[in-house]
Symmetry: C2
Subunit: 466 residues, 2 copies
């Protein structure tokens, strides 16, 4: 059963007061989508859009499974050191496909797979606590950085490298595994010089499109997730997205609807709201994909634009008690994308007790899965009744196959959306200035001039502090 | 050392191209703020704004500490069942003040305090896993619902109630602790009838303003957090907010700046971005406070408005690799509030190894706390250089006192902001429709008519699915 996109409630005929998208405007994008699709297919063929090849890289799956089932079995802990696209996909897979209390379970509870820590932020409180928590002698550190130059991840590597050598001397190298560029960068260099195992991120696959490369697959495989099924799911979605018929291409529809909502109906805030704990971090992963790909100062032709919707993650039913008041009554500046599971892998029956008490009695005989589904339907109906655009992506259930489908859907949608917004979805020029300044303040050689500029900067006014 | 608000970079003289708030516009709010302040003081005296009294409720602290140090000591697990305001404050306290791997630590690692689970979402996957994970015979379930009618929490209670009785018979009552209204509601009724311990949420304290009541204090005390210090911090901030001089009142300034940014400079997206893992869930707690209090369809006079900024939580340095591209290059529709700690309680030195490699050598000799501070300064400078409004709330460090200050600051700011937006910050009328529909679909007595309406609704069009 494939993933289904239900976009009825994005459209004016379904929304109160006709506030949604006019279906003829959507139909009006058909020809443009055909051109976009042709261009994307062309760039796929040239290899420029490298992530399209990932679902078919079965050799990578084999190599990773060999490692996971061989040398990987020696470890009780896997610590992923990486940030942004090197971490978010792995977290999404972990939350979706592992027990929510995975790291608290004993070896048997984890089927003897290792604990899985993803440490993206170089926060000293977290890192100190981690080093107290784990025994590095039974830990594999998977250091993930495509460039090998990420300051946060490299700092963590240095700390861990020293600690490992202190504890186990020359054997430290067997506790490191790099995931990086196949040729370039300092991690590749260290891997060669110190005989440290390394996996590759294909050159034309950027961080936020890398979840189905070794970046996400190695940690997933180490934790027992069937990574072959992830790729099969992605293949299935890829097949559905080969059509240039907008109304039949789920990724095209998703991109077009969000684009029209933003640019024609002034709804630039795109909320993704799973009614499912397992899917919650897919919404966090999507935040990077959507924000970093579409938030751009310049169009492809170089015109100043400052475009880009703001992705927001939410969670049902939790955020009914936090954000839904704003979504229902606030400005008409949002779209809501619900993610739901048709079948839950587990359910909990609500017992028929206290049936004489009105506030409790009606609950018995239902289940938690039913309650969550009903709450989603009620919230959806309330939003629609108040003229708030919303749509639903329904997964048949949460397993590796459907997660592969979902992640691939959203990646392809992002590429189409880039074309609609007329921006390059693969770059991120805006973060350069901050990086340069960090190097300057840290005293990296070659940044002396910027450092002097920094030191000369004006003091802030005390009058504007409290 | 008190909390400091640095708002230089919200103002036009500091921002590139003069894009910020004109300081004369801020000064122009002084008189209006004086009126607002007078009215808030009045409503505080009448008891209408009940949360103002919480920092002074030392009797509550005593009662809670007695429980925590007495009967509370018998438990290895504390499970909080509550949602929205019944959960978010407790999560913020836990993340700020406990070890990040708290629930993974053994008894000694936790100083013999219990594990702390906050289960807000009634998700069947999470709840099944929780019931497998914990031994209910050593668990206290703190059921938190002011009204006692929250469907999600009551469903969880029924499941747990049955499970407890199965396992330990009549002793189940000693494993339940309710936090609810002192008089009304079904939890209070059960507490009386079945002799189950219960704490009170004062009647004039709504969920999102309840973190410093028994709602947040009981779980905090059970985990060893010095709750007296939390309240002292709140008292210190309260004292600072007694002035009606806008430029000296940090909560007044915070509210006024965000209000002006939204209504005069079209920046309705208010990002809160701690550069600190411990502070990350303060930003999540703030999401509810800001969204539910300010997102309203009607003004106090009943005029249709549809106002309300959209709070967004982010995390530094992590989101430099996810959201900052959009913040720097996208639309000028945001403000960023950084949260930072001047002194970190722990730090990790980056060793001086690989000093001959340019990508690594400059890192050695710094520490992770320094790296994070420098990255914040670099991001702040880059945003400012690109004309993006930002401000910084600096905590001297993260401890119970400063967290009390910070939470109170943001609560008072929310009340002031409600007055500026001319809305009632204490209600949430927009979520009623969804609740009614949930009752109807679940078959609660008294909702038969709504149920029939629901069943008659039009089927969605298949043509708008893919």
């Amino acid at each position: 059963m494939p993933i289904k996109l239900d976009y009825n409630n994005m459209l004016a005929p379904r929304l109160k007061d006709g506030r949604g998208i006019d279906p003829t405007r959507l139909a009006g994008l058909s020809d443009r989508f055909r051109e976009i699709h042709t261009d994307v297919e062309r760039r796929r063929e040239t290899g420029e859009l490298g992530f399209f090849a990932l679902p078919y890289a079965t050799d990578v799956v084999e190599a990773i499974e060999q490692f996971a089932e061989g040398p990987g079995q020696a470890f009780s802990n896997l610590v992923v050191l990486g940030i942004g696209g090197s971490a978010l996909g792995t977290v999404a897979l972990r939350t979706a496909l592992l027990d929510p209390f995975w790291n608290e379970l004993d070896e048997e509870g984890r089927d003897f797979y290792p604990r899985l820590y993803v440490v993206d932020n170089p926060d000293p409180s977290t890192f100190s606590a981690l080093l107290r928590r784990i025994d590095v002698r039974t830990t594999l550190f998977n250091v993930v950085s495509k460039s090998g130059g990420t300051a946060e991840t490299m700092s963590q590597l240095l700390v861990v490298r020293e600690k490992l050598e202190e504890m186990i001397g020359d054997g430290y190298r067997r506790h490191l595994l790099f995931t990086t560029d196949p040729e370039a960068g300092v991690l590749r260099k260290l891997s060669r010089e110190e005989d440290i195992a390394a996996l590759s991120v294909p050159p034309k696959v950027g961080g936020r499109f890398s979840v189905l490369s070794a970046v996400g697959l190695l940690p997933a495989a180490m934790a027992g997730i069937p990574i072959g099924s992830l790729l099969e799911g992605a293949q299935a979605m890829d097949t559905r997205c080969r059509t240039d018929e907008l109304t039949e291409n789920p990724a095209g529809l998703y991109a077009a609807l969000q684009y029209l909502a933003d640019t024609e109906l002034s709804a630039p805030i795109h909320v993704m709201m799973p009614y499912s704990d397992p899917l919650r971090d897919v919404a966090d992963w999507f935040r990077q994909l959507w924000a970093e790909s579409l938030g751009k100062a310049e169009s492809l032709s170089g015109a100043e634009g400052h475009v880009g919707p703001t992705p927001v993650k939410a969670l049902g039913a939790t955020d009914q008690h936090s954000q839904v008041q704003l979504y229902i009554e606030g400005p008409f500046d949002k779209t809501i994308t619900f993610l739901i599971e048709r079948e839950r892998s587990e359910d909990v029956e609500i017992p028929r007790i206290y049936s004489e008490i009105p506030e409790l009695g009606y609950l018995g005989g239902h289940s938690l899965a039913e309650l969550l589904r009903i709450e989603k339907e009620a919230t959806e109906a309330a939003l629609t009744e108040r003229g708030r655009m919303n749509m639903t992506i329904e997964l048949p259930n949460v397993d590796a196959h459907s997660i592969g489908e979902l992640l691939f859907l959203l990646q392809v949608a992002t590429v189409y959306a880039g074309a609609l917004y007329d921006v390059d979805p693969l770059n991120q020029p805006g973060v350069e200035l901050g990086k340069q300044l960090t190097y300057a303040i840290m005293g990296r050689p070659g940044f002396e001039e910027a450092r002097r500029e920094w030191e000369k900067r004006e003091a802030k006014k005390e009058e504007w502090m409290a």
